[in-house]
């Protein structure tokens, strides 16, 4: 019997904070905290609570999209190895049931079977770690919607492979996939365990094999109620990210097409390598000009505070725009893209040191939008003109459709198999 009964008990170290000391001061003596320039108490969603759980089943979108980004991600794509529709159904149903267990902080089955010749269902390394806000989000790739599975007619209205975009330096080893799993959690071992055990189910059922994966160690996007985190270039990332329900409805959730796709969204994933050493030796004024923001405050070069609206028309004494023409914020801003916004849910990753001795690191960029063309529009512009291109390259890419959450007794994508 491996059922866990202690997951509701708060972990002794459950209440951790990125700014733990300030939290202590803030809670104890409000007057002292108020004297500080920075807010003493972080936003609710910045406090790590390792007992927090999110529901898997629901009536709208899957968890892990609107959910305030957790600290860690383990992202993996898979190739389908089954040629049968029933094989795909089996995998999605087994995954769904197991994800429901994992998101509750429970095992997916026995860890130590009673029979000597038994093999554990659950690999066990997440025992007693709590749910740690785990969400696992399933994405369906292009091969799913083909005649191979008799599902071509059910293709989400705007689903297709991404076009080749300017500055694409994609490597086959980090590109594509028929299915994706995005596991996010506040404990990296919880995220890792989830993907590991779900990958085992794929092999065990003979339906899919692993393709490529990235472990992200720090969130680089803020959700509602979170302060803006930083990417590995040291800049705040996602200051103007989608946070309000109205924007989610307008830019993220699918509204047209086959009925099973409602509350779904298109997931675009890019592995973006950063040339860390070159960036670190770049003068700060150039770094600020590359982003169009100040490094520490995150304020636009035309403002004082992070959330000040950038004034793209403002010129300096030399007559040139204060936010340069090639600045990242200018090219990406919704004001300069007919109001277009995408939801970013990215993570910083590292893979150690590369074959030529440089830090192998970057951004696992994950975006959700109700039309893959929205990403393409923005990236076409960035890929051709962004000053940041001197320091980054897009080496991996994939596109998936993230179906709505299943209801209890159902599984992800069940509506597809009518």
């Amino acid at each position: 019997m491996t059922r866990r009964t202690d997951t509701r008990r708060p972990h002794p170290a459950a209440q951790l904070s990125r700014r733990g000391l300030l939290v202590g001061a803030g809670l104890g003596t409000a007057g002292l905290a108020a004297a500080h320039a920075t807010p003493a108490i972080p936003n609710d969603q910045d406090v790590v609570d390792l007992t927090r759980r999110y529901p898997f089943y629901g009536k709208a979108e899957q968890a892990g999209i609107r959910t305030p980004p957790q600290r860690y991600v383990f992202f993996m794509t898979f190739d389908l190895t089954t040629n049968e529709r029933s094989g795909l159904q089996l995998l999605l149903a087994r995954w769904s049931a197991s994800i429901a267990q994992l998101m509750k902080g429970e095992t997916i089955g026995q860890v130590e079977p009673q029979r000597a010749n038994g093999v554990g269902f659950d690999t066990g390394e997440a025992l007693n770690l709590g749910a740690a806000s785990l969400t696992v989000t399933v994405g369906l790739g292009p091969k799913v919607f083909t005649t191979a599975y008799g599902l071509a007619a059910q293709t989400p209205l705007l689903f297709r492979e991404l076009n080749t975009l300017p500055s694409d330096a994609l490597k086959p080893a980090f590109t594509g996939g028929d299915l994706s799993l995005q596991a996010c959690a506040d404990d990296p071992q919880v995220a890792y365990h989830a993907i590991r055990d779900l990958a085992r189910i794929a092999k065990d059922t003979g339906t899919a094999s692993t393709r490529w994966a990235v472990m992200g160690f720090g969130r680089a996007s803020a959700g509602k109620g979170q302060s803006t985190p930083r990417n590995l270039l040291g800049f705040k990332d996602g200051t103007r990210n989608i946070k309000d329900d109205a924007d989610f409805d307008r830019f993220v959730w699918v509204k047209d097409g086959p009925s099973w796709t409602r509350h779904g969204t298109y997931q675009v994933v890019r592995k973006i390598k950063m040339d860390i050493e070159n960036w670190d030796t770049d003068r700060v004024s150039d770094q600020n000009n590359v982003f169009g923001r100040h490094k520490v405050s995150g304020a636009p070069l035309t403002g004082k505070n992070e959330f000040d609206t950038p004034k793209f028309a403002q010129a300096g004494e030399d007559g040139k725009p204060v936010i340069p023409d090639h600045a990242h914020v200018r090219l990406a801003a919704h004001e300069n893209n007919d109001g277009l916004k995408i939801l970013r849910r990215s993570y910083n990753y590292t893979e150690g040191i590369n074959e030529v001795g440089l830090l192998d690191a970057g951004l696992l960029f994950i975006a959700y939008q109700n039309d893959p063309a929205h990403f393409e529009t923005l990236q076409a512009k960035l890929g051709s003109s962004d000053a940041l291109n001197e320091y980054i390259s897009h080496i991996g890419s994939a596109v998936f459709f993230a179906p709505p959450a299943p209801h209890v007794g159902s599984y992800i994508g069940e509506g597809l198999f009518v």
């Binding site: 087994r94 089955g109 209890v408």
Partner: protein
Amino acid sequence: MTRSLTVLLAGTALVGLVATANAANNSAAPLKNGVSQVGITLTGDNGGSCVLSHSAAKAGPVTFSVTNKTATGITEIELQSDNRILGEKENLAPGLPTVSFTLTLGGGKYQIYCPGARQETVEFTVTGEAAAAPSGSTADIFATGTKGYAKYVNGVVDDMMTAVDRLKTDIDAGNLPQAQADYARARPFYERIESSVDGFVMPGFKATDNAGNLDYLIDMRASNLDQKVGWHGFHAIERDLFQNKQITDETKKLAAELQKNVKLLDQVTRSLNYKPEDLANGAAELLEEVQRTKINGEEESYSHYDLIDFAGNVEGAQQAFAFLEPGIKKIDPDLAKQINDRFAVVLKLLDGYRDSKAPGGFKVYTAEMKTSDGAKLGRSIQALQEPMSKVAEKVATASK
């Protein structure tokens, strides 16, 4: 949640189902065309429940229809008698269609085992005549398989002796090119049976003493040497033939030793008896060997004949499984099919590396090939390893 689910279940319940955890209708299951019909419903209620529509049936054929409505933590069920598996269904998950299995049961006590349920075992009673003494039970079939496997191992060792004799003749004659070719031809035999290594200990030696361990003496790689015992066997010869490219007196000594040790192996294997789970665990271990030492090119680090060994391991695993297959087909035909399908994928993949002109029949596994194809080869084995790992438990608990 539990409350509303209970209501939902009651509304759509199978005939006679009482929507309380594990409380089945005690009357005998209804008959349809002479077959008793028992429904098993899995729900997430009360931490995972396994509910029978009827807890009893008349002796004779019984069909169990299993539906996982909402149980996310239960993926399989078994029908057991005295801890022996009579039948089972795996891959159960909410949203999938009902699956069923039919067995002919004699009177007596049975258990429905639902691993992951709050109450994992539910009693099931069959009334009427006790079953006639079974003939050709699954356990008998497995026992026959182990005898067949023992013959297979002995045949492989015979072939190995012939091939090693030839290799020794080449080495004694100082014929390097011929010795290299015959090295390749001698390799696959050991790789087909190396999973039985636990039994390859010479009489009179402790299991931990490598000096009496034929696996060590025949097949040890440079990476795992025991300095006390020194290096012997195939891979020491491989180093001379493929790295030093020289046949020395030392090489001749190694060849003579190998010939002697393979003869000893022949004596040891003839006395070995196998249990059915030995075959299953052996097949799984051979696949682990592929993953651990062939795909990374460690096994044949001088000759790069790793694909010969790869094919040898796979053949050995397939043979071991083949001797269990008739029994597995009775217990879990889906698993048998899945394993056969995955073997077919691996063998088809291996066909792409065959080279009839090369000694041993396979291309040389170069560093480039490892980089370009290693992951593909590894994944094909992974897809076989997971289902194969389930076989041992099934054969060990097969009905008598």
